[in-house]
Structure formats: C-alpha cells, structure tokens
C-alpha cells in the first residue's frame, strides 16, 4: 500500500548496492551493513562475537557452557538437527520440560540480521523454538554474516510469504533486538525482566 523505504526483495547482503554493481562494490556494501549491524546490536545491549567458521563458534559455545558452569542449557530443535550441532551438542535437549522454567542458556540460530536496528529474525514453526530464545537467562544466537540485510523492508516479501504458509500449523516470524528490557520502575532501563538478561550474537563468516 505504501512505498516508503520499501525497495522490493533484496538478495541477502546485497544491500543498497546499485543494480549491476561490480564485485568490489558489492563487498563494500556488505561490509557497511555488517559494521552497522554490530554497532546497532551493541547499542541495544547485545554482545557480539565474531568467528571465521562454524567450528570456532561451536568451540566458543562449549567453552561458554563449561566456563559459566551452565547445566540447564537447551538448544533449538532445528539447530540440533544440523551438522555439527547434532554431534557436538547431542547431550542438550531441544525439548522443553517442566524444568525449562529456570533454564540457564539457550542456543539458537537466526535466519536474518537487520543492520538498521541490530535485529535478529527467526522464522520459526513452533512455540518451543520461540521459548528457547525467551526462557533462558542467556540467549546465544548464531548468525551468518551473509544473512545481514540493510533493513527490515528488504525481507518484507519473505515475511509475508512465510506467514501465508498453510503447510505448517502456525507460521510465526520473530524479531529480537537485544536482551529483554524494561524501564517501568522510575524510568530506569533494566535488562532481563521476562526474557534473557544476556543476548550473545555469534557472527559467523569471513
């Protein structure tokens, strides 16, 4: 209905680069978006860690869990099916149990990152997936650098088509920007009121 800042579908990471731009130009645009994403995510109180490969990120996760003596960690079902998470985190549950109410850490992955606001997007099929993001004290989220797009409007068509899906029971799209926050007591910003108090973004790619 409106065309304000709606620039139609973008290929991931291509950003605002002109049509027919050369490879170096495209890379420059991509880098700008990545920098912006990191800056904005930090403004929203998220922590950002950079890794050249998935393996290095997995190592970080394992260290994180052992260093912080985290026992009650959960992992998203979808992620657990993927290599190398199926092997490395086979002991972690993807199913929420009655104990999930006080879970310490959750490992998830995002489908997109939005540079404009430092937002993570996940297209998830289930409430359980969503809870892995929301219930733990710390949320650890993997995101590939190439999945960072300049702004939300860039993936609007994808959001629309996902929500229109009838092959899954409840199509959902979630946007998460920084940890859970409130300013309800004396207007003072405080994190971790309902959702995680820490959001660590593991940015993967070279």
């Amino acid at each position: 209905m409106t065309d304000i800042n709606v620039r139609g579908p973008f290929r991931c990471g291509r950003g605002d680069a002109p049509v027919g731009a050369t490879r170096p130009t495209l890379i420059k645009y991509m880098l700008t978006h990545i920098d912006k994403f990191i800056e904005k995510a930090k403004v929203a109180d998220a922590e950002v860690e950079l890794f050249p490969s998935v393996q290095r990120a997995v190592q970080f996760l394992k260290d994180f869990l052992s260093k912080n003596e985290i026992k009650g960690a959960i992992i998203s079902e979808a992620l657990k099916k993927r290599d190398p998470f199926d092997k490395e985190f086979s002991s972690l549950s993807g199913q929420l149990s009655a104990d999930s109410i006080w879970v310490d850490a959750g490992i998830v992955s995002a489908d997109y990152g939005i540079a404009e606001t430092g937002t993570l997007i996940h297209f998830d099929a289930s409430d359980e997936e969503k809870n892995v993001w929301t219930l733990p004290e710390t949320c650890l989220c993997l995101l590939e650098k190439k999945k960072i797009v300049p702004h939300l409007e860039a993936i609007a068509p994808e959001i629309a088509s996902h929500l229109a899906r009838t092959d899954i029971s409840s199509p959902q799209v979630s946007l998460v920007t920084g940890p859970s926050r409130t300013a309800d007591i004396e207007c003072q910003l405080t994190i971790g009121v309902h959702g995680p108090a820490r959001l660590v973004i593991l940015l993967i790619g070279t």
């Binding site: 904005k40 929301t134 609007a156 629309a160 229109a164 409840s170 859970s180």
Partner: protein, 697 residues
C-alpha cells in the same frame, strides 16, 4: 478541581524531557513528516475498507485454524472470554499489555466469576499488585518509586526486599514466570491485524508477549477493529514509527508475527464497542488512526502536571478524551475535555497526524449541546460575545469601572477573596483608558491625508485583548508599519469569535465571526497580532461561515512577524537606530504561533535584530504558559502550575526581556512576573520592533 502531586509532576516532566531527546535522536536521518503522512494515509485507506479487511482477516485466520469472533461491545467481549474460560476449565489467565481489556473492564469481570487474570507487563503487574490505576499508557507505574515497589514486593513475597531496581526486576521476573507457567490461558492485544494472512503483530520490550502467547495452552487475542491493516508492509510501517515515537527506541526488543494457533487453540475476539459509530462520523473517524504510541501524552503540558489518573477515564489525555466520548459516553469525557489546553503541541508529535486539539473543540460543542455547560459560559458566549452591540457595551462598562478596579501600574486590584484562585498567581491587567481603535484614530487620522503616497495598504486586526487591554501593542505595530511606508488601516473592534468556538459555542462563534466579516473592510494583507485571532481568521472562520468573503479574509490574514520578516527585513534593519542598548532576551513560543503558524522562527530573528543579541533559549520554549483563554478560568490550579514552570524557565536563562507574539501569553506572563516579583520585562515582538526604531529598547 484536579489534584496536583508535585512528586509525580517532577517524574513526568523529567520523563518528557528525556523522551523528547531520545525521540529526536532515533528520528535523525528519517523524514518524520513523510513517514507519518504515509502512515496516516495508510490508516485512512484501511479505515475506508475496514469491513472488507476484517472479513478477509477472519477468513485467513480461520484458514490457519484460529477461532475468530466479533464482539459488539465490552460486555459481549467479556462474555465470550468467560465462555472460553469455562470451556477450557481456565482458572488462571496471564495477560500481555492490552488497553482494550482495560476498556472492557475484563480483570474485574473475571475476578467476580472466580477467574484470576494477572498482568505480566512489569508496570501493569506492579499497578495491579498495588490495586491502583495506571498513570501512563506505556509506563503504567511511572508514579511509583523504587521504595513503593519494594514495599509491595515485600508484601507479595513475605520477605524483606532490597530497594535497588535490578533486584526488584529479578524478583518480579521470578514471580511472574511462576504465574505464567501456572496459567491455563494467555491473553494479549494486537498492534496490528494483518488481513492478507490472518496474522497478528505484537510489540513488546519485556518479552512477556512472547511468553504469554507460547507457554499457556490457550491463546486469546482481544483486539479492536481499527487495528486491521491490509498487508505485512503496512504493519512494518507501523513498526517503523511506533517504537521511535513511543519511547525513542529504533525498535522494541521483541516483535512477533503470529498466524494461527500452535499447541492449543487460539481465539481472536474483534471488538467494536462504538468504533463503527466513530467510523461513520466524518469528523471523528480520524481518531481511529491512533496507534497508541502515547507520544501525545508524553508531551502534553497538562498531563505532565496532573498525571494519568486525573487525566483519564480509561484512556488518557487528549486522545483518550476522544476515545472516552465514544466508548464510555459523552458525559464521561466532559471533565476531560475541559482540561485540554488546545495548544496543538500533541499534533506536532502524533504518528498519524490526528488533529487532537481541533477534535476536542468539536467534541466540546457536542458535549455542550447534549449535556449543557456552565452558566457563566452561556452568559459570556451566547449572551455577550454573539451580539456586537452587547459586546461593545460590556467592554465600555469595563472601561468605566477602570477607576475603581485599576491601579496606576496598569494592573487591576486584587479580586475579592472568593475569586482569589483566578488572580493570585498572576496579576490581571486593568482595562485600557482608550481602546486601540480610538487611540489609532487619534494619532493616525491626521497623517492619512499627508501620506497618500504610501506604497501599500495593510489592515491590522488587533483582537479583543489588544483592543481593550493592550492598545500599546496595536499602536506599536501600526507605527512600525507606517514607518515602513504602509497606509495602515485598523479592523473593527469586534471579537473574532474564537473563544466561543473553543468553548463549544459554535453558533455564537459563527454569529460573532459573521458580524466581524460584515464590518471588516479588508484592504491589503490583514495583519494579526494575536495567533488565536489568526487561527480564527485564517482557519476556523471559513469553517463556521461558508462565504467568499470569509475565504478572502483567510487568504489575506498573516501574522505580524511573518509579514515583516518576509517583506520588510531590509527596510526594518535600516530604520533601526544604531547605538541603542543591547539586551539579553529569551523567547516564549505561543502555542498557535508555533504549532499552527510555524512563525516562531521569524519572530525570533526579529527579536534578535531588535535587541542585538542572540536569543537565550529557555527550557521547552514551546510549552504552554497556561493562559489558553477560558482554560485558565476553568482550571486555575493547572494554569498556575504551568505559569510557575514557565517563569522558572525564563528566570533560568538570565534574560532581561521575554518576548512573545500573543497578547494572551503576555497577560499571563507579565501578570505572573508582577506577582512573583520576577524582574523580567514581558513584551510583544511588535513593541520591541517599535522601540528599536525609536532607539529605545
């Protein structure tokens, strides 16, 4: 009379200032005007097709497996929710933030039937624990301190609770989490209903929206019908503006789009509650554009003084008054409509360009016609102002009384003790010995013949305050224009009809304006010295009198400062005497002058020129001084509080002169300086220009 809590006032004013700062910084790089125009147009189109979109939404949501019902009114919605509770044996329900459920009184309704409904938004949860009413739409517990909250939490947990905010939030987290896991149903509102796919959009910062929709087995959505939008793109536009305008955030922590039920049933109740009536009303339908960002509230000068408990029925502030009138009835909105300043400040911030102040005026007229109004207003507007003859006689009688009520310094004697609330915070001016029109004739009539070579004719319209109380402002303007070579004429000494219109006396206002039109021979531009007269001449006049002459007058009317700035800046600079003394000045933005006529920039430059110094900006120069015509008679305690803040802001600048462009503000601020002993000269821009030409300042 409205209660003023000084602690709450301080909290709300500090919040407003930090809000404005944050909002400005997140809107940097965006064209707010362009965005909100797009959103307003989008909402208008969606409202035009409301029924079709709702039908489409229902169809699509049902295809996903949602159960969708319509509720005509609050009672019907509550009954439907009760039915769901009974069907699913729900004893405990948790709620995300839902203004609509407050509108229907859901919590109380369910409590009376043995079902516990617990809020999960931290502010709402605290307020519910305290058994109090929310004071802000987005920040419901803004009136409570950490100490108050600690006391509440100690009672709730039975343990001594520390008074630091992070610990309090931890405790709330754990208590609320237990409640969410113990609940059999979660209820939320919706920030948008998306017709193309039957999805809802939910925006929260805390994450309670996510937990309430995913943890309990049953999800209930209670949303009002105006929330429906055609497509995802449209919801994204709401998302772009809502957090930025509401709290100065680029985006909230959590945004969820949910289409259909997942683990248990999802019920969607679409509530009308008189919104269809509103939709059918061409004047008031734009109220339904509201996206509940509460920006209007954040900058409302009155809200900052009295808070949300005083300034609400359920919905708060000016926009709340409009919703209340339709949803809870005209009577409930009567008291609320009276406390609106009509300063139009909210309109500068509204995300969907709702003309809140104008609509309150239209509402005031309906309230007056259907529920009656104060005797003194009927006397003043229907009796006196509507008839030119009686109007003149009344002012003549006031002039006659001058010897008794006036003092040498130009102010009136104090009013008797039973009326002291009207003048102890500001001295009222005494009527002038000679009205402006007569003073003008005496000085200018002999000149006219001699200066037939004048380049252009202009007509000054002074308005009542200048005519009867401040003729010196009119004379100053006339002298400046005459010095610049204009043949100056003066309009008739009649009321323009604005005060009557503002008080809801549309008919009396129309009669007064028609009488003015009949007598006014507009030659050349019509120069106004009062921004509210300007509003009547250029904006409201053609609405109350539909004639060619009214439209002609509207096109000729121009504020004095703008006329001089746009046409005579060079000549004026040449006329100004050199060697005059520099003075430190600050400038007060009169509401209509800034918010409607955007002429404050012109005035500031002229004042800087006249006083040869840069304006020292006061805190929130565009915040109303509290005069606002009959507002200060209806609400003297709020008027006094606003004036006290204004005087403090002026004093803080250290200026010797405070300039302004409205004789109403001048009455308030000059009178306030006099009473409080603040040694700052309050002057109209025209006076300062004239003095600079004469070599005085």
């Amino acid at each position: 009379m409205k209660k003023i809590n000084p602690v709450l006032k301080k909290i709300l004013q500090d919040f407003s200032q930090s809000y404005q700062f944050k909002r400005q910084s997140v809107l940097r790089g965006y064209d707010f005007e362009e965005l909100r125009t797009a959103l307003a147009e989008l909402k208008d189109k969606a409202l035009d097709h409301n029924e079709n979109l709702l039908a489409r939404f229902e169809h699509k949501a049902r295809a996903h497996g949602s159960i969708v019902w319509r509720a005509r009114d609050g009672a019907e919605a509550n009954d439907l929710i009760l039915k769901i509770c009974r069907d699913h044996s729900i004893q405990r329900m948790v709620k995300g933030k839902s203004m609509v459920s407050e509108e229907t009184g859901l919590n109380g309704f369910l409590a009376g039937r043995g079902i516990e409904a617990r809020e999960t938004d931290l502010g709402e949860w605290i307020v519910q624990l305290a058994a109090e009413a929310p004071t802000h739409m987005v920040m419901p517990a803004i009136h409570l301190t950490r100490h108050d909250v600690a006391v509440l939490f100690s009672e709730k947990t039975g343990k001594q609770v520390p008074e630091d905010i992070p610990s309090l939030v931890r405790i709330a987290r754990s208590e609320m989490r237990k409640e969410i896991f113990a609940a059999q149903a979660g209820l939320t509102g919706a920030n948008a209903l998306i017709a193309e796919n039957g999805a809802i959009m939910l925006i929260t910062n805390e994450g309670n929206g996510r937990l309430v929709t995913t943890v309990p087995p049953v999800h209930i959505v209670l949303a009002s019908i105006e929330k429906v939008l055609p497509a995802v793109d449209d919801a994204l536009l709401v998302l772009k503006l809502l957090p930025r305008n509401a709290t100065g955030q680029t985006i909230t922590s959590y945004v969820s789009f949910i289409a259909g039920p997942h683990q248990g049933p999802q019920y969607i109740i679409l509530l009308d509650n008189h919104r269809s009536d509103m939709l059918a009303d061409p004047t008031f339908r734009e109220v339904l554009r509201c996206i509940k960002c509460s920006a209007c509230l954040n900058v409302c000068p009155v809200y900052q003084i009295i808070g949300g408990e005083e300034y609400s029925h359920i919905y708060m502030g000016g926009i709340g008054t409009l919703f209340t009138a339709w949803i809870h009835g005209l009577k409930k909105s009567k008291e609320l409509a009276r406390v609106c300043l009509r300063c139009h400040r909210c309109e500068e911030y509204c995300a969907t360009k709702i003309k809140i102040a104008d609509l309150i005026t239209a509402l005031a007229e309906r309230i007056k016609n259907e529920t009656g109004t104060a005797m003194w207003k009927r006397f003043a507007f229907d009796g006196v102002m509507a008839s030119p003859g009686i109007q003149q006689a009344a002012f003549k009688a006031a002039r006659k009384a001058r010897k008794v009520i006036g003092r040498k310094d130009g102010f009136s004697r104090k009013l008797p003790a039973w009326m002291k609330k009207y003048d102890r915070f500001r001295a009222l001016p005494a009527p002038a010995a000679k009205p402006f029109s007569r003073a003008f004739k005496k000085e200018f009539a002999p000149l006219v013949a001699a200066e037939k070579s004048a380049k252009r004719t202009v007509t000054i319209f002074g308005g009542c305050l200048i005519e009867h109380f401040y003729p010196e402002i009119g004379m100053a303007a006339a002298r400046v224009l005459s010095k610049l070579g204009y043949d100056v004429k003066v309009g008739p000494s009649l009321c323009c009809g604005f005060p009557a219109s503002n008080a809801g006396f549309g008919k009396a206002s129309g009669e007064a304006f028609a009488a003015l039109l009949k007598k006014l021979k507009a030659e050349g531009p019509v120069i106004t010295l009062c921004p509210t007269c300007m509003t009547m001449l250029a904006r409201r006049g053609p609405e109350v009198v539909d004639s060619e002459k009214a439209r002609d007058l509207a096109s000729r009317a121009i504020p004095f400062s703008r006329f001089i700035f746009e046409n005579e800046l060079g000549n004026l600079t040449r006329l100004m005497k050199s060697g005059r003394q520099k003075q430190k000045a600050t400038y007060h933005d009169s509401c209509h002058h800034k918010n409607l006529w955007k002429a404050e920039g012109d005035s500031r430059k002229l004042v800087e020129l006249a006083l040869q110094s840069e304006i020292l900006d006061m805190d929130e120069p565009d915040k109303c001084c509290g005069f606002a015509g009959s507002f200060s008679l209806d609400n003297p305690e709020i008027s006094a509080a606003l004036l006290a803040d204004k005087l403090a802001a002026i004093e803080k600048t250290g200026a010797e002169v405070v300039a302004m462009d409205c004789p109403g503000c001048l009455l308030q601020i000059r009178g306030g300086c006099h009473r409080s002993g603040l040694r700052v000269r309050a002057a109209h821009t025209a006076e300062l220009l004239e003095r600079s030409i004469r070599g005085q300042v």
